[in-house]
Symmetry: D2
Subunit: 355 residues, 4 copies
């Protein structure tokens, strides 16, 4: 074992987020990956299940196991849960009790309200007592809380792409909290590694389609976090679309400046405020890239990285402020962000293993 | 020559719209394709330039020629212009004078105002005297005018996907004319067959990106047509995005009902009105498909057809009416629609050669 | 019912071949599609299951039913079986007995030998007595037999792309029957509409991979048909690969001319013989396109058509004759070819409903 | 400047290989990237030209310059040439004279014979005197020579995927040197970042096509290297195909064992010899992965890595030995391999900056 490292485990390591966690943790300078679980692959080596990792020495010695929280609590200090919603709590409770830090990539601990959870996920919350304890793992917004959390709820992919661009503007009262629209485009990995006809190659390739209109589950955490930032209840319009790329989310956000906006002078003033607000919020963030000049986000520029790109335009014709963001839904939108939270929680450099 | 047919020519037949016109006209029961022009391919057969048409007998006898309006006026009764904007007028003027019907797929004759043209296309209109004469070739909206027009300005791909869903609702005053947002996603063929680095396979594949934000040229014709329908000046927000598919446009439209909307009863009433409005407008249209039940548009269901799909949802959380449409940008968004106009103009069955 | 038409049914109409049969038969001038079966979709309309056909009037009246051979025998004169191998016989036997013509798209009746079937398909043949009666439905090769057959075994997608280029040359003794290699590339629809992880979008997109090396099941019918053409036992090397396109097969065939080949003169003579052989075999075939000059096959030129493209090159450096072919695996490689056989069997123009 | 590093420059850094070199060198622990040249982008920062690198600090300080060998020789100890063939020599000569180590990614210094160069590249070799001095930069084969070379000719993408699987078997006389066939499939980045219609998204997507049949330029270096390994003149059949993925080459190689092969015992013996030969050649190579069990190469498992995967099958039906390899054409097939050679040349760990 390396000297200044911690031991980590991944429960549910066979999906796309799990696979990305494996990749990130195998190469993380401060982590030793000691356990990966998957009912389907129990007994097989990492190399066998993920041929792409076969050149890494650990891939031949590390075997998938059945998820056993007692065993895992002895094998790891930090445990990542890459499981469907509704299942994560079963593992989180005993692991927390055993003293592990739990970083959950499911939706189970992202909300404060068990009722909202029931409304959006259509079943009772499995461990409502933990909702107050958990911290929403959006590092650029909740860094201090993450540093002390034992239960980190890593944000959803769509929410990350919508929250990071909006929160600073809402906090600074630069945009109105009503009437916000988020039109989001996601690659197919967002649907997970499920054997469903709708996600077969021939069903997605050469296809563009909206889905979950008008009430996608991620609305719940988006609105909760936006409300926190605005200091009042925020309701938004959110329309996700499925796009034939493996990875990437592009969100186009339509907002209205709070300031009066009818002359070019008004516009210049608002533009300055927006620029300053973003600069202050993200100018020193390693994983938020504020695009300059005529540049617009493009998912191909951030795929396989933990970076979220932001650009914005003030439209004098409509008076709106348009904001566009791009991220890799599996990295900044899931596993990379989870590792970023782990880095914060354990006092590692925040970019360790991520660039 | 077939008995009850007309002769047709295509100027600029080497691009994607031109190629689709060739396909449609070669197989049209009432048309004889007598001339195709292309400076680049002059002298070559259709079979040589488009191997995919090589099994059609005419592909081996029909040669590309230089565009010569005198010759073309003798060879054809109807001439399609599949040219870049700014160039079409040079051909339209002499062809009209010679008695041809001209169907222009460029933007040159879509606007009534030469000033708006200058604002959006950054050069003087080349033949402003024709702007009043030309008819905007959206058959479901301007069928009667098309039937008598000699200069038909076939609509742009984005405008078609936005206008057809919005016009009936605006005419019926069911939605407000302010605050409309059109978020559109287009396949790469929309960029044309130009040798530019930005449209290379590796630059588009695995990429999602917005462009021309916030003022795309198509805004001019969209707003002119919407204003006509609303009876007042309409300004909309329009954001196009480039998506890695060959063909297809998906537009997601955000609108507000004019009626008061706070209870479920309000909602049911508005929903009935919208359903009736669409049924009345498009229930008998062969090329508009109103989706039922839980169905949402998917470009793969309309690619290679002249059909535009429409679905809508009333969102009780936000009070908005969302409308989604899908079309093939090269067929209903360009060449198919142009042929539909030709069918109307010459008294052919409107679906001739299109299904 | 139309006057000079026959009634047709499709058993197993929910997969990719079934869907393509639906498309072709809905638009066929001499066919009335009277029944489509699918256990999964029984009771639903065509419009519901395949939104893309929703504009066709029959799509709203025709409902999927459970497959019941007694009922089908009354509803249809010709029945297409689009089922997995091993299942087709259960339907073929009673349908044939009831006087239907059966066109089977599975592998069940393609071989003459029940033993070879067992070797390649790993189970006993379900109806060996029918093997002698069935006709291999490759129209360009077995047209006369097809015209009189009641049980037509429509060829596999890979076999079609390999047999059509090779059979004329083997029959003419222009190439050696030993040492032939077929390197084939297929789009993902060839795997069918099965919910398997391996065919998810993210598993196929940005992936190139060989499979079933070195003994794919299609070898059995390829070698049987090649042996018939050569007049002696032919064993070939066949390597299929999965390529991220929806449709299309590209086969690259490596053969050796029988004639001595060392000088440019030898080469010219062999080239003449090959050209003549192909011209004689396919010069008048509506669905085989012999490419001229420097052209090479490209699947994009034949997708959605029933055409197979062929090009060939004699390589003076190696003495080999390379042949390349392209087809749409679902049209010429499956459903289009099946309709072509039906046209022959019922005396319709061979191209009816196919161009 | 870092302590134990060398300074590196890239001439022609705007293409796909150049961009990948930028990525690798920016993150290389022993390299300081001091200069990047591009006529087109001279004066612009790395961040501007490649937004994806904008989060790297150097991307904002490093500007593209015009290629000036005098200046470059002062700025760098090692210079990478990522230029078209025929141009590289103009830079190599003065840089070598000035004491730089030159790693050329073009084809200019890969052959020993200026005549073969003329035959395959259709122009006179620009600096034939350097051909004897240059070392073919295939590390697994020429590691010792690379360690001492000042002019390293980094291999082509296709050659790497064909040579690494074949050379050990030819050296060990396990396969015959006659009759070898290489059927290769390449992603579109292999065509470079040239604005040509044939490589537009819509021309490549949903397309599979062979090209440069039967005499592709890479044959020259493939045959020269195979001949060296076999100890006699080797002529092979090589057919490249264009596949719609960004990156990746999959080569399927058809060879014949030298040993008599008719019984299962023969087969087992040959299989042992092949396995041992590969184990000996590549068992300890960090960038060659010998696939075990039923695994077959898949480009998605090696994309973005410097790894080449190899699997093989002995076919008892045909007596052939099939070998399949997969690599990333831009990494192991170009820039990664060039960095691997640099590591060897300067005594760095061979995997530095590559995993």
């Amino acid at each position: 074992m390396k000297n200044d490292t911690i031991k980590a485990a991944i429960i549910g390591a066979s999906g796309y987020s799990g696979e990305e966690l494996v990749r990130l943790l195998l190469n993380h300078p401060r982590v030793e990956l000691t356990a990966v679980t998957s009912r389907q692959h129990a007994g097989q080596t990492l190399a066998r299940v993920f041929p792409k990792f076969a050149s890494h020495p650990s891939s031949r010695t590390l075997h998938f196991s059945e998820p056993d929280t007692d065993a895992l609590a002895k094998q790891a200090k930090v445990v990542f849960l890459a499981l469907p919603h509704g299942v994560a709590a079963d593992f989180a409770v005993p692991l927390l009790r055993a003293g592990c830090t739990v970083i959950d990539l499911s939706a189970d601990f992202r909300l404060k309200s068990a009722e909202v959870y029931r409304e959006f996920y259509a079943h009772e919350h499995p461990a409502p007592e933990l909702l107050q304890q958990s911290v929403y793992g959006l590092p650029e917004v909740h860094r201090r809380d993450i540093a002390e959390a034992n239960l980190i709820a890593s944000p959803g992919c769509y929410p990350t792409s919508i929250l990071l661009p909006l929160i600073p503007l809402l906090r600074a009262r630069l945009i109105r909290s009503e009437g916000i629209i988020a039109n989001s485009l996601s690659g197919v990995s967002g649907a997970g590694k499920k054997a469903e006809v709708g996600f077969l190659f021939c069903e997605c390739n050469e296809s563009i389609r909206p889905y979950s209109v008008p009430k996608h589950r991620h609305l719940s955490e988006i609105e909760e976090q936006l409300s926190l930032a605005a200091g009042s209840r925020v309701t938004i319009q959110f329309t996700p679309h499925l796009i034939p790329v493996n990875r990437g989310i592009l969100s186009t956000l339509y907002t209205a400046p709070t300031a009066h906006f009818s002359t070019a002078e008004d516009g210049a003033k608002i533009a300055d405020q927006v620029a300053n607000c973003y600069q202050e919020a993200y100018g020193n963030e390693p994983f938020v890239r504020l695009l300059e000049g005529q540049m617009l986000p493009d998912t191909k520029n951030i795929v396989n990285t933990n970076v979220l790109e932001i650009a914005w335009r003030l439209d004098p014709r409509t008076g709106r402020l348009l904001i566009m963001s791009a991220e890799d839904n599996i990295v900044k939108g899931a596993s990379g962000q989870a590792v970023q939270s782990m880095n914060i929680r354990f006092g590692f450099p925040e970019t360790a293993g991520l660039i």
